[in-house]
Symmetry: C2
Subunit: 335 residues, 2 copies
């Protein structure tokens, strides 16, 4: 059966055009049945003006949009009738199998937690991002849903992250590490030290602390942090990569000789760009809620948004939510 993916057509900097183009790419590749939420007329006009060959589209009208400046709780209150608010409502009512939005992260977090709701036993859902590394991709979580975390939240992030890497990325026995300011078990804040102890007895493959320097080398498959730290790691990572990629570009644009030289090294540079490509995974996933919610980058272009929809497909194809539900219901002591 076709997967019904609810799309926040108005969320993100490049909505609705890039969102609709991305949805089209996903339909072509995965045969999804999209449920577009947003301003009916604007969506229809955008599809027509740009000849976007979407088929079997269902549009659910909404006349308000959540902006980057809205408070996280707006999705429940004054902006409950926004494209994102209605998207969450439709997901809850079974009008779609998954929800994808490039809108306000705070609102996606609140909507996931309070409308879609937590899986039984999960203390706090978290934002998980698939990140590039020198080896293979790894999962960083939490990337911003919970600025402050208790040790047991971090412990649970490890469990959900490990399941994600097993089920979705097909990594056997994923190495789960705790982001810390040193390798030794005595390092870090009191919360992190307590989490370390819990994780030593975890049912997953806890490999100890990881320092920032080792994260991009791919020394762990899951890097666990509170949402404050995780967000700073994620964005510092993106920022440094962006600055250096700009630097490479400038080096090649310096003069005629450097421009010519680019041709000789292009394939190697392309390999590197591909390895460090943030667009490949399209965004972050909410782990710990009852249905698949994917948060695409605010600046998502069509390809990035298509890849965010791909994440939703993977969630569904691999029954990730059932796996998390099972894992957390077996371990009843954690509820």
């Amino acid at each position: 059966m076709q997967k019904r993916i609810i799309i926040d057509a108005m969320g993100g900097d490049n909505a609705p055009l890039e969102i609709l183009k991305g949805t089209y790419l996903a339909q072509k590749e995965y045969g999804i049945a999209p449920v577009l939420v947003g301003n009916d007329k604007e969506i229809q006009k955008c599809i027509k003006d740009n000849n976007i060959a979407l088929e079997n589209v269902k549009i659910v009208n909404s006349n308000s949009v959540i902006t980057m400046h809205d408070d996280a709780k707006a999705v429940l209150k004054e902006k409950a009738d926004s494209s994102m608010g209605i998207g969450f409502k439709l997901l809850n009512e079974g009008e779609g199998d998954a929800f994808v939005s490039a809108g306000n992260t705070g609102c996606v977090t609140v909507g996931s937690t309070l409308i879609t709701k937590r899986i039984k036993g999960v203390k706090r859902p978290a934002i998980a991002s698939v990140m590039p590394s020198a080896k293979r991709p790894f999962l960083l979580m939490d990337c911003g849903a919970n600025a402050e975390c208790r040790a047991e939240f971090l412990y649970q992030f490890g469990k959900m992250g490990s399941l994600y890497m097993q089920k979705i990325m097909k990594v056997e026995n994923p190495r789960v590490a705790l982001a810390n300011n040193g390798e030794e078990s005595t390092k870090g804040t009191s919360t992190v030290k307590e989490a370390y102890k819990l994780m030593q007895n975890a049912p997953y493959n806890f490999v100890g602390n990881i320092e920032g320097r080792q994260i991009p080398f791919g020394d762990a498959d899951v890097v666990v942090a509170d949402g404050f730290t995780g967000n700073l790691i994620l964005k510092t990572y993106e920022g440094v990569a962006k600055v250096l990629m700009n630097g490479i570009k400038n080096a090649f644009m310096k003069n005629t000789l450097s421009k010519i030289s680019y041709l000789g090294v292009k394939s190697g540079i392309d390999d590197m760009k591909k390895q460090f490509d943030y667009k490949e995974y399209g965004g972050a996933v909410m782990l710990g809620v009852k249905k698949p919610v994917i948060k695409s980058h605010g600046s998502a272009d069509a390809r990035t948004f298509k890849n965010a929809i791909k994440q939703a497909i993977w969630f569904l194809d691999n029954n990730l939510i059932s796996s998390i539900e099972n894992e957390f219901s077996i371990n009843t002591q954690e509820e």
Copy 2:
């Protein structure tokens, strides 16, 4: 008068050879009078075997060395007679004007705080690192001295960091920002939110929160964080830069054509490498203690260590410690 710089000749992965070579380079450039602390025979042999043309050297013998595995408090207790322990003691006794070590960071922090001691009014000394950015260098602090910080510590880090950037880096009215998981004043942990309020009324140029993505673009001159977060930012920064620089190298080494192409783009790549050169500042400085203490990278080579000594010279030439003392004694309410 020649500056007497106390050197931990045994600290770091490449001691004593690179330390001694770096000290020689610093002597040649700045005319320092080095006080080398470490195993007398080993130092003499290393100088002789490698023809290091150091002059007017004073060697203070020590037969024990602090390793990377020693507890931070070892410098006060069982390893008080180590090269680092004796180095701090000499600094305290006025046998030198500054102390430079590439040894164990925890021990340097404890030695600075409890042997060299805090400047009156400073709640917590912090490790400050000069970092490269797309624009000009900026200061990140704390990089690991205080895993947990109260809001007022963060407030004070801004004050010390601002003075450093003014006095040492000659930046007028340095922009001080608070590392956070969002730009809005409502973002972050409760401590960070409280710090934000304090910093809004600070006597320095507080420019608000900075997200990880903007840090490498050089959007602030001082980035304030607790030592846990700051350390993860610092090391993630270094790690991503390292992985991408390796990627560039591999791209150029891919085949004969790419190797030839390197020649055409070398000058541009060299500009970029220079801009992102961690060795240029040689390491981190302890801010908030009564005398200049510089912590060079554990993996410091001669040039890096020479630049760490340069930091000590800058401290002394610009009377940074007096400036911090004055600033903190004026604002008596902070004591």
